[in-house]
């Protein structure tokens, strides 16, 4: 194993994220600011949390209370490796799903004198760079400082070591998953023939749904104390699963059973070595595997006249919309956009199924307003950047700025309205809302989609980022953050005429003895609609100007 090669490969992976639209790379100097902020900030935050907890503990005069807190800390430490493992697993898996289909950045190692061991190790470690590593730094530094006050330095040292190993364990598992899915997905495509596209789409959706059901089953309705307790009790009952052995080793360390500590620690290390070996062997076997061609259609080609033309779209605009629909249902890295609407449906449904309570009108409104609106915001901000290197088609096509905005905006709103429609059916079937609530929520949802779709499209054009490797950026981070803030504020502005309606509903739900003047929904909805249309119009004008600039400044 050439460690320098491993470091070089990790460095390539981190540098692949440095390309930013509008920056000339000829004189690029890498900014250290973000890593400093991320890891330094996490460390400072962790130290501060540890110091606060430690001081709080030291300042407690009552010995019984002190003992309870000490016991709580002893319960917490062994749960941390499993928590980090689950968190790292979720993060690295999501990161893999979003990875671009463009393979250019990962191919050079295949023809350079780099071994599969080096390649696998570098890929596994590179997965952890960023948020997973920052969270380990945060938790680790908090644990370290708190342990000084608690007098558990040895336990803290072992815990920090276990955190690092857990994260590596999660990342190795993700590496195996990555290779497996390339191979398995290829086999599924080959056998499913023309249905491969829908098999891929539905497969990804099912994976995401299953993933979130597991995730919410684990976290929903629980606070962190409950999670820690849950992990602590689960670890002892699930001791046969190697992933919890590190936590179990810490439990035995607290109990002073050192022989068991050694056994479970060695077993954990052996498990990691086995997993890593499996990852290397799979990379050797399938690393260069090329998925088979997906045949979508056979037979004679017959151009179809779609219904979009009847809706007033030109052939160019309709072609772009059809192409975008195919992109969002065929490009795996774009399918994660469906996660947010799924989360908005799954989260309250999980709580409802778990709690067995009557559906709150607010949850109904949440399911109806949330997914469609979030879809409009996400799609609007990403639809232009999702073109990636293929954006030259727009630069070289006879498309006007007006046509460009029209077809992109129409796609965003139509797609979001479909999502809203599906969600409203689910919500109505589950919640049986009042007619007033159903109508008000539906209208407001449409108004939010119409306005925020345009606001986000403007951000998506102005802040488009066409970098595709290692994963499509689509929008510059600053533009994304600004867009989210602007959309949140404007959503409140649009919904504000209905705030009295929400308050009166809340009062009636809580049976409070307060009488409010009768609220006129028929007046509030048109006001809200007027506000939404004004916002849409203002942002349409701005979007049009941005599109004109955009189409005359080719960047690729």
């Amino acid at each position: 194993m050439n460690w320098k090669n491993v470091l070089r490969l990790i460095s390539v992976d981190t540098k692949s994220g440095r390309l930013i639209r509008g920056q000339r790379l000829r004189r690029y100097t890498e900014s250290k600011l973000f890593p400093y902020l991320l890891y330094g900030g996490s460390c400072i935050l962790g130290l501060a949390i540890g110091w606060l907890v430690g001081n709080f503990y030291s300042g407690i005069p009552d010995l019984d209370t002190k003992a309870i807190i000490y016991q709580g800390a002893l319960n917490l430490f062994p749960s941390l490796p499993t928590m980090v493992l689950i968190y790292s697993l979720v993060f690295t898996m999501m990161s893999q799903i979003q990875r671009s289909g463009a393979r250019a950045s990962i191919q050079p190692p295949y023809w350079l004198p780099i071994t599969w061991e080096e390649h696998t190790l570098a890929s596994t470690l590179a997965n952890l760079i960023g948020v997973p590593l920052a969270s380990i730094v945060l938790i680790g530094s908090a644990v370290a400082v708190a342990s000084i006050f608690l007098g558990t330095i040895a336990l803290a040292t072992l815990t920090i070591f276990a955190l690092l190993v857990s994260a590596f364990l999660a990342s190795t598992t993700t590496e195996i998953f990555r290779i497996l899915q390339v191979r398995l997905v290829g086999a599924v495509y080959k056998s499913s023939g023309r249905a491969a596209i829908w098999v891929r789409f539905l497969g990804t959706m099912l994976f995401l749904i299953a993933f979130y059901i597991v995730w919410f089953a684990f976290t929903s309705g629980a606070n962190y104390v409950a999670i820690v307790e849950g992990i602590a009790s689960a670890q002892s009952t699930l001791w046969l699963i190697p992933y919890v052995w590190l936590g179990i080793a810490l439990v035995f360390f607290i109990k002073g059973l050192l022989a068991y500590v050694v056994i479970f620690s060695l077993a954990s290390l052996l498990f990691i070595l086995v997993l890593f070996y499996v990852a290397i062997r799979m990379n050797m076997r399938f690393g260069l595997y090329e998925p088979p061609a997906i045949t979508v259609s056979r037979g004679a080609y017959a151009p179809r006249v779609g219904f979009l033309g009847k809706l007033g779209f030109s052939s160019l605009e309709a072609a772009v919309m059809k192409k975008d629909f195919k992109a969002f249902t065929r490009r795996r890295e774009l399918m994660y956009l469906f996660i947010m609407p799924l989360v908005f449906i799954i989260m309250p449904l999980m709580q409802w199924v778990g709690g067995g309570e009557r559906f709150s009108p607010f949850i109904f409104a949440w399911i109806l307003l949330g997914p469609g609106t979030i879809m409009a915001v996400m799609l609007g901000s990403m639809i232009v950047g999702s073109e990636g290197g293929s954006i030259w088609h727009f630069y070289s096509s006879p498309i006007t700025a007006r046509g460009f905005v029209k077809c992109k905006y129409a796609f965003v709103t139509i797609f979001s309205l479909i999502v809203m429609g599906v969600c409203s059916v689910v919500a109505v079937l589950v919640a049986h809302p009042s007619l007033d609530l159903a109508i008000a929520s539906s209208i407001e949802s449409v108004l939010l989609i119409v306005a925020l779709g345009m606001v986000s499209l403007r951000s998506g054009i102005k802040g488009a980022d066409f970098v595709e490797i290692p994963r499509p950026r689509m929008i510059r981070p600053l533009s994304a953050v600004v867009n989210m803030i602007v959309c949140a504020v404007l959503a409140l502005v649009i919904l504000s005429p209905l705030i009295p309606y929400a308050i009166s509903m809340m009062i009636s739900l809580m049976n409070l003895p307060i009488s409010l003047p009768k609220f006129d929904l028929h007046l509030a909805l048109p006001i809200s609609g007027f506000v939404s249309l004004i916002i849409t119009y203002i942002f349409y004008k701005m979007t049009l100007k941005n599109a004109e600039d955009f189409l005359t400044k080719a960047e690729v």
Binding site: R24, P291, S297, P303, S315, A319, K326, S396
Partner: protein, 259 residues
């Protein structure tokens, strides 16, 4: 260098600068209707920037560009309607099938459905893509992708073709078809501008050639005029190119590399 005839493409005093790099340095150019015009030059000499400015993809810092009687800066959409463009490394929509992609391009240019079908079928057959047109482009070889990109530039019968390295990755048969097709289109009045590094192709296909270097034209004319300019009467384009661009003394470089 400037012709008195009506030109398909007319550049006057066109310049483009990227921060401190001069990409194109106040060039004048006339490309006639029905001409295959070759743009040669070392990497970074300004060929692609010139091409992009002609298409209205890049705004010149100064000068004027007239394409097919239209000011490219004022009305780029009208120019694009009449142009077929293939960039140097075309990134196609890989999630579409070949047929879906060509259907998309046909719709973008507002082609009639039956005309679109006929053309697509003809080109797919001619370039031997039949049988693979229903596969996703992601599974195509580089040459197949290039064929799809070329078909997409041809199907709407453009009056001007801007083809950056058009024969890159093509098999000999397809390359021959494209060359013959370009000649045939030229006889019908279609103009082609073709930046290339393959000097043999430029010499064989182009009516006139411009050699660009550091954003300027070092020489412009047919092969005889270039020979005269380089004072190499019997030489081929490679020797002329190396002499004019001052990169002719390559023996020392090779010897240095072999040490």
């Amino acid at each position: 260098m400037v012709s008195s005839r009506e030109s398909a493409v007319k550049l006057r005093g066109v310049a483009k600068r990227y921060s401190d790099i001069i990409a194109v340095d106040h060039i004048d150019l006339d490309v006639e209707y029905g001409e295959i015009f070759g743009l040669l030059g070392p990497n970074g000499s300004g060929k692609t920037t010139t091409l992009k400015m002609i298409l209205g993809l890049v705004k010149p810092d100064s000068g004027s560009i007239n394409v097919l009687g239209t000011n490219a800066e004022e009305n780029p959409v009208e120019v694009k309607r009449q142009v077929g463009y293939v960039p140097e490394s075309p990134r196609l929509y890989e999630f579409l099938t070949g047929i879906e992609y060509l259907d998309f391009v046909g719709d973008v240019y507002g082609m009639d459905a039956s005309e679109k079908k006929n053309r697509i079928d003809e080109y797919l057959e001619a370039l031997e893509l039949e049988g693979r047109e229903g596969d996703m482009i992601s599974s195509y070889s580089q040459g197949m992708k290039q064929k799809i990109a070329l078909i997409s530039a041809f199907i709407h019968k453009p009056k001007l073709l801007l083809l950056d390295e058009p024969l890159s990755g093509l098999d000999p048969r397809s390359a021959r078809i494209v060359k013959d097709l370009l000649r045939e289109l030229t006889s019908q009045g279609v103009t082609t501008i073709m930046p290339t590094h393959v000097l043999g192709i430029a010499q064989a296909m182009c009516d006139r050639i411009a050699i660009m270097y550091e954003g300027r034209f070092l020489a412009l004319g047919n092969i005889e005029e270039l020979r005269a300019k380089a004072r190499l009467p019997e030489s081929d384009l490679e020797d002329i190119f190396l002499k004019l661009t001052g990169t002719g003394d390559i023996r020392a470089v090779v010897e240095e590399l072999l040490r």
